[in-house]
Symmetry: C2
Subunit: 405 residues, 2 copies
């Protein structure tokens, strides 16, 4: 195992809070001394999420623990999901059926496998223990929390202040999450900043069962591509881990300059002194984002695809055609005796516009050009002379090479 200081450096990178920090140092030191991996818990809420870079922030931290020889313990909150997670939501969330939960859990694990080494991780479902609980067990669990503690929880407090209902079953969620830590004897639990309350509930429960309490490690909320609000699917400011290399790279290039440091810190492994050098170099921010984009995309698509996406982006930004232009078949029978076809029909046949009326509008606006010299055709009634291999462009993004068939 690496020594305490280098582990500390790696693990504390980008972290928002470690509570209590001193306990974490002690656990880490003992782990090294006794060559005993820390058990690092991360709870997954199988509610049908498309994993985006915001979700990867704690997952990447978990992977760092794995890479340092510690044990990742993933809890699939399949039973918890039947209640609904109030964390960071302003409304009571609908609960799911067991079948939905199971399907979501599988899907989520598949996505998470892009970040975590699942072969080396422990995966538990909290239904394995909670499904066996009696009402009395629940009552004994609920003794550990007061209305006052619950009402002070940040997201609940907000809803109470806004006179929105907080249902009693939602109050059970942090206790359930806390009990998961007892079951798997967690040393550390990772979570978003809004999870701190639940992560600390676990400490009380562990102590009540004679266990050493876990340390809570919270990660900051990643800002979205708008640079303003938290990354989220519904806000349209997210970068999904399943998106194409081109989309991911393009979205990284679109972020404002301000969040670059956060993205480097939380989403890449670039040493922090290199990051500092890049950010203070006076380089054009576009160049710095290019480094950032390649580093992020490479994690999900490999370095080659990342470099290719960067190249494509550059060419497109320079107004050049991409390196590889997709072929589009065209039935030669659609051409007249001179090899011509009306422009709007051509665009529709090639699948570049959905209708000839749309195509006419785009053409009239000057958005259509053909051939190596980018000859603009802006008369919707024009006849286009087509030969095999002709490159056709619509707007900035759509480009195909005609293959006569």
């Amino acid at each position: 195992m690496q020594d305490l200081e280098s582990q500390w450096q790696a693990l504390s990178r980008g972290v928002e809070q470690i509570v209590p920090e001193e306990e974490f140092r002690k656990k880490l030191a003992r782990s090294i001394r006794e060559d005993r991996p820390l058990r690092v818990k991360y709870g997954i809420d199988p509610t049908g999420i498309d994993v985006h870079l915001g979700h990867t922030v704690p997952l990447r931290k978990l992977r760092q623990f794995q890479d340092l020889g510690h044990t990742a313990v993933i809890i699939i909150g399949n039973y918890t999901a039947l209640v609904g997670d109030p964390s960071g939501r302003d409304e009571t969330r609908a609960s799911l059926t067991e079948a939905q939960v199971e399907a979501n859990a599988k899907d989520y694990l598949r996505q998470v496998g892009r970040i975590i080494d699942l072969d080396r991780a422990e995966v538990h479902h909290n239904g394995d223990w909670f499904a066996k609980w009696s009402f009395l067990d629940v009552l004994n669990l609920t003794r550990h929390m007061t209305l006052g503690q619950i009402s002070a929880r940040e997201d609940f407090a907000k809803r109470i202040a806004a006179e929105k209902p907080v249902y009693l079953h939602e109050c059970l969620y942090p206790l359930m999450q806390g009990w998961d830590s007892v079951e798997i004897r967690a040393d550390v639990e990772l979570g978003g900043t809004e999870q701190l309350f639940s992560l600390l509930v676990a400490r009380d429960l562990q102590q009540s069962r004679g266990q050493e309490p876990q340390v809570a490690m919270t990660m900051p909320i990643l800002v979205g591509t708008d640079g303003v609000r938290r990354m989220g699917k519904s806000l349209g400011n997210y970068i999904g881990v399943a998106e194409s290399a081109e989309n991911q790279f393009g979205k990284v290039m679109s972020i404002p300059d301000e969040p670059m440091r956060q993205y480097f810190t939380l989403l890449t492994d670039l040493p922090m002194d290199e990051v500092q050098g890049l950010l203070s170099s006076g380089q054009n921010p576009r160049e710095v984002k290019d480094v950032l984009g390649r580093a992020i995309v490479a994690q999900y698509h490999g370095q080659e695809a990342a470099d290719r996406a960067a190249g494509e982006f550059r060419r497109r930004a320079a107004g050049e055609d991409p390196e590889e232009i997709p072929d589009a078949p065209l039935d030669a029978g659609k051409l007249d005796a001179e090899g011509k076809i009306p422009a709007p029909i051509l665009l529709k046949e090639l699948g570049l516009e959905e209708s000839t009326s749309n195509a006419r509008r785009v053409i009239a606006q000057g958005g259509f050009n053909v051939g190596p010299r980018r000859e603009v055709i802006n008369d919707p009634r024009a006849q286009v002379l087509v030969s095999d291999g002709l490159v056709v462009r619509v707007g900035k993004r759509k480009i195909v090479r005609i293959r006569l068939a």
Copy 2:
């Protein structure tokens, strides 16, 4: 069945609230029309209580329902008791073991049998259903209440205001009590005034299960013999149903005048116009309390014992010996040749004082007299001439007739 108006008169007597009153009238009318008894629920919390007249207020109402042909449904909250009942308490109550709960339930039923006709009552234990519940069932139950509703509950609100903890498991209690109503399909539930919240929770749960909601009927809190605070064992201002006729009668005679109307209304079946007549007759309140005391004592000991207790009380108040003086054996060998015995030794031998030193003090204070002429002997060194049948008095209450043996 009696007609609507006479049932209404009997059942609404002394009641604090019927919520909603109009629904109760409708249920009652339908019950008469269809000759279908109402199912009247009363929950018993088996926490080891000595039943006193305060507890009998809702129990007597339940008995009135029985006497009108309705069905008393008693719920033994054996499962609920494992949580603890926060109602009307300022502190979190310790929960009980299952064995304690079972013993308490039996004991409570035995006591309650003095008021309810148990042969005609349904008795259920809520453990019969709750013991089978899963965690998920609990979660589904807790969906029906918000933190806001719970915090508004009067006793919880008081504790929150006083910054005393309200534990989450306590919040489950009203939901459990409410669910009991679903299980037994209650038409009416009886409770103390502080129970109104729980009685109304049941309505929501019943409606969520497609049942007609029950009507809540709350009874006022009986004031104790001090005329000030609620009757309670710890306050020493109670009259227990298991106490002797003499004790019960004496305690009724000791109450202030003000609560007489409440006692007549809630603790006797005297028609209200007779009560009104008694209270406005200008009679000495002692005479009115005599009627009250006999009416109450007769319920637990029979009319004869009640009249006897009243007679004894009267005689004692007039300074007369009671009608029946208990015999006390005395070994004739303790007397000297002249038939005399030192006064302190006599009192100890008769069991009237625990020690001769106590006896000496009482004698010196003039608390000892003998014979039909109540000859006071106040010299602790005096020798008392004893003959068979001699009546000996110590203080106001202790009196025996010596039987030489």
